[in-house]
């Protein structure tokens, strides 16, 4: 067999990422995978490739009224893949769908502040809010514009079931959807009319891999040119000149969540002892190969972390002393504490083994229990959850690019069933700090507010924050001008796929 030449085709495992849902073509229902979806669909706005600021995509510019209640978007002169023009009505239609839970939209709740959407003319879209929302723009980055002319005939509650998504979706992006081969791959072809210029590649193919090892095998065999990899697979490529490793911040803080309803964590000193007992530097150096940063609150971005917070240095003696002070023997004795997690990767397994061993040294006896995501959710989200099943969790929550996203995991108002504050943190200071930060209309002042959140977290320890790990992609050096960022939730960001190219 000779391998057919694929000069102008880029294949990759794009949609294999953290939490990536394979084979989900409906952006309204997508909780991840936007890196891929945004190659053929486009949102109004997106982050830049460094995830630091938002830039317009289908909106050439936008303005926010001083009261933070009106957002006016100037729309770009774009065309759908079928040649019809993209208009403000399409945008209005799309936001309508995204706001409507009946469509299966996962964004409905986050768009709830939107009170009205208007399309005064073809190129202007006005969104009115009932109350200021700091995260509206962040949410809008995930709202992929959909063609009204193709979808308006489908009733909202039938939309999710429509075969349109996997057979003939049309967007405005640099590539057009051509075909989906059942759980094998999706193929996109260049959209030669793309307003940003004719794409350099002829085709982009996203292949699905069930097993990470298979993706790596395909990459090394030259069948694909790019894939996301786990950090412990990175060394395999480090010295290989035909591949380039792309490293980026995951924005996901990994933490040990103390179940605040469990009496054993009531005493702050116990929580502090946990922090002091874990040698995070050693774990980062050895298990992560240095590819993580210790986190002493949920944030890692420099501008959000105050300088004077407690670094909780590794100090088992101090931990023991703290436990003794708190009377740990009386609190829990030697009984094993279940450490519940939904991470099942080999890396997480090793990390938990290390954490278990370290905690054991100071006399805290934990036993990791890894379950699949639905089981985890069903345990922790149950309103009347059984404390004994998850006295401690090992989990992760993203804290960027919108720093406010951490709110749901810590705000007292988000305790299940209201939201995903699974550790049931009831820390008034923290709730107040988060509320203040979220309500801060002034973007410039917001960082300061978040620093305050960080401070409270650091001192009160609703979570035992551990670190923020890096994420990796590996791309063939034949691929040029390729932009990939390990964005939380799978993007989207400004990736300019029309510029991607591949050398012979």
């Amino acid at each position: 067999f000779t391998r057919p030449a694929q000069s102008a085709t880029l294949s990759g495992g794009f949609d294999v990422g953290p939490g990536g849902f394979q084979g989900n073509f409906n952006p309204l229902a997508a909780t991840a995978g936007f890196t891929w979806l945004s190659i053929y669909f486009e949102p109004l706005v997106a982050y830049d490739a460094k995830l630091q600021k938002t830039v317009g995509v289908l909106a050439s510019s936008y303005e926010i009224s001083p009261d933070q209640l009106t957002y006016a978007f100037k729309l770009a002169d774009a065309k759908w893949h079928d040649g019809k023009p993209f208009t403000a009505n399409d945008a209005k239609f799309t936001i309508g769908l995204a706001k409507n839970a009946k469509t299966g939209s996962v964004l409905a709740a986050r768009l709830s502040p939107v009170s009205a959407v208007e399309a005064p003319d073809e190129h202007t879209l006005v969104i009115k809010l009932s109350a200021p929302s700091a995260s509206l723009i962040d949410t809008l980055t995930k709202v992929m514009m959909l063609p009204e002319h193709a979808l308006s005939s489908i009733p909202a509650d039938q939309l999710a079931k429509s075969p349109w998504w996997s057979t003939s979706p049309i967007g405005t992006g640099a590539f057009k959807f051509t075909k989906y081969v059942n759980d094998q791959y999706v193929e996109l072809a260049a959209n030669t009319d793309y307003r940003g210029g004719k794409p350099a590649l002829e085709k982009i193919i996203n292949r699905y891999f069930a097993d990470p090892a298979a993706a790596i095998a395909a990459l090394r065999a030259g069948e694909i040119q790019f894939t996301y990899v786990d950090s412990n697979d990175v060394p395999t490529f480090k010295d290989d000149t035909s591949f380039q490793v792309i490293e980026g911040n995951s924005f996901v803080v990994n933490y040990l969540g103390f179940n605040h309803e469990s009496p054993i964590w009531k005493d702050l000193r116990v929580r502090q002892a946990v922090m002091h007992a874990i040698n995070r530097d050693a774990i980062i150096q050895s298990l992560y190969g240095g590819a993580a940063k210790p986190a002493n609150c949920a944030y890692v971005a420099d501008q959000l972390v105050p300088k004077d917070i407690d670094p909780y240095a590794y100090d088992p003696e101090k931990a023991k002393a703290l436990l003794k002070e708190a009377g740990w023997d009386e609190i829990n004795g030697g009984k094993p504490i279940t450490l519940l997690t939904y991470y099942t990767t080999p890396l997480a397994t090793n990390v938990l083994a290390a954490v278990q061993a370290m905690l054991a040294q100071v006399g805290i006896n934990v036993v990791p229990r890894a379950v699949d995501a639905p089981t985890y959710n069903s345990i922790v989200l149950k309103p009347d959850a059984d404390i004994s099943q998850f006295q401690l969790v090992y989990a992760g929550l993203q804290n960027g690019p919108d720093a406010g996203s951490i709110n749901v995991g810590l705000n007292e108002k988000q305790i299940p069933p209201a939201g995903p504050n699974v550790v049931r943190a009831r820390i008034p200071d923290l709730t107040a700090a988060l509320d203040t930060a979220l309500a801060e209309p002034d973007a410039a002042k917001r960082d300061e507010r978040y620093r305050q959140v960080c401070k409270v977290m650091n001192s009160q320890l609703p979570w035992g924050t551990l670190w923020v790990a890096n994420r990796y992609g590996v791309v063939s050096t034949k691929v040029k001008d390729f932009v990939w960022t390990p964005a939380p939730g799978g993007g989207p960001y400004e990736a300019d796929p029309q510029h991607w190219s591949i050398a012979e």
């Binding site: 394979q22 409906n26 909780t31 079931k161 429509s162 759980d183 090892a213 639905p374």
Partner: protein
């Protein structure tokens, strides 16, 4: 024959009904429901949204009501929609997986039948020879290796290191369909899958042939002056095949459920993968649909096995 088929059909339908009830019950006993699988802690859904989603899926109804609703739909041939991939009807999803599964299993089965029967015959005829012992040891080694390990090693050796075979998938993406391409993708997983199966068939074949070679009618054949080759191939083999057919029948039944390890390592879009995936996401309709379709296949395969018996052995009357 007709009444036999009809009776088996009736039993089969009863079986499927019981099967659907059992799996329905089991599913509700598993922790977590589709919505739990759907939730991403980073994209919080409001309780109202969750309730809305649950009620749209009927998950808030009492169990018997849910089951009956499902059954009523299923009886009209509508197995519902996948929860995870809402745009995909279950029936289509499952049917689209059955093809690749049958292709992979069928190829593996053909390989294993040929290899297993041939080596089994040689082993039995040369009983206790070096050939026999080495075949038997190899077979045992094949049976003793965990499938996922051999899959990973096979992948690593043949796809990554030697680069002889593609690393997975069923077709080269972006290329027009070609049978050669399909075969190229098929051969490695099929062979890996065939190893354990061939080993098992070999051992059954050997035992059964040894038994048959002791039968009186084999002696009769020799007493007629039949040459040894035909004694084995014509007189012994056909009789010795019965237990092997049973074995093959029962493993086909099991295999339709998928070889999860091979499928997941080689990314073969078969039933096994679909099932793992749908259990992980608690995609109830898909699990129910897949169970039913697989169950139906198993029942059909059992029927075919019985009919094969009748072809091989005229003593067994179907009817």
């Amino acid at each position: 024959m007709l009444t036999f088929s009809l009776r088996r059909l009736a039993i089969g339908i009863g079986m499927l009904l019981a099967l659907s009830m059992l799996i329905f019950l089991l599913l509700r006993l598993t922790p977590g429901d589709p919505i739990d699988a759907y939730i991403d802690p980073n994209i919080p859904l409001s309780p109202a949204d969750l309730a809305e989603l649950r009620s749209r899926l009927g998950l808030d109804q009492p169990l018997p009501v849910q089951y009956l609703a499902w059954l009523q739909q299923a009886l009209t041939g509508n197995l519902g929609y996948s929860i995870k991939r809402m745009d995909q009807p279950v029936l289509g999803l499952v049917l689209s997986r059955i093809g690749p599964t049958i292709l992979l299993m069928g190829t593996a089965l053909v390989i294993s039948i040929i290899v297993g029967i041939a080596t089994g015959i040689v082993s039995a005829v040369r009983r206790n020879s070096v050939t026999d012992v080495s075949f038997s040891v190899l077979a045992l080694a094949g049976i003793s290796s965990p499938a996922f390990l051999s899959a990973l090693i096979g992948l690593y050796v043949f796809a990554v290191r030697l680069n002889w075979m593609p690393s997975g998938g069923m077709l080269t993406p972006g290329e027009p369909f070609s049978v050669l391409d399909l075969l190229h993708h098929l051969i490695l997983p099929a062979c890996l899958l065939a190893v354990a199966q061939a080993a098992l068939i070999m051992r059954y074949m050997r035992a059964s042939l040894l038994e048959v070679l002791n039968q009186d009618y084999v002696r009769t054949a020799r007493a007629k002056g039949v040459i040894e080759f035909w004694v084995i191939v014509k007189h012994a083999l056909r009789n010795a095949l019965l237990p092997v057919v049973t074995l093959i029948g029962s493993t086909i039944g099991l295999a339709i459920g998928g070889a999860i390890f091979i499928e997941s390592v080689f990314n073969w879009p078969g039933m096994g993968l679909l099932l793992v995936d749908s259990v992980e996401t608690r995609d109830y309709p898909v699990i129910m649909g897949a169970t039913l379709i697989i169950g139906a296949c198993v029942i059909v395969v059992n029927l075919l096995t019985d009919m094969t018996y009748a072809v091989i052995d005229p003593r067994i009357k179907v009817g």
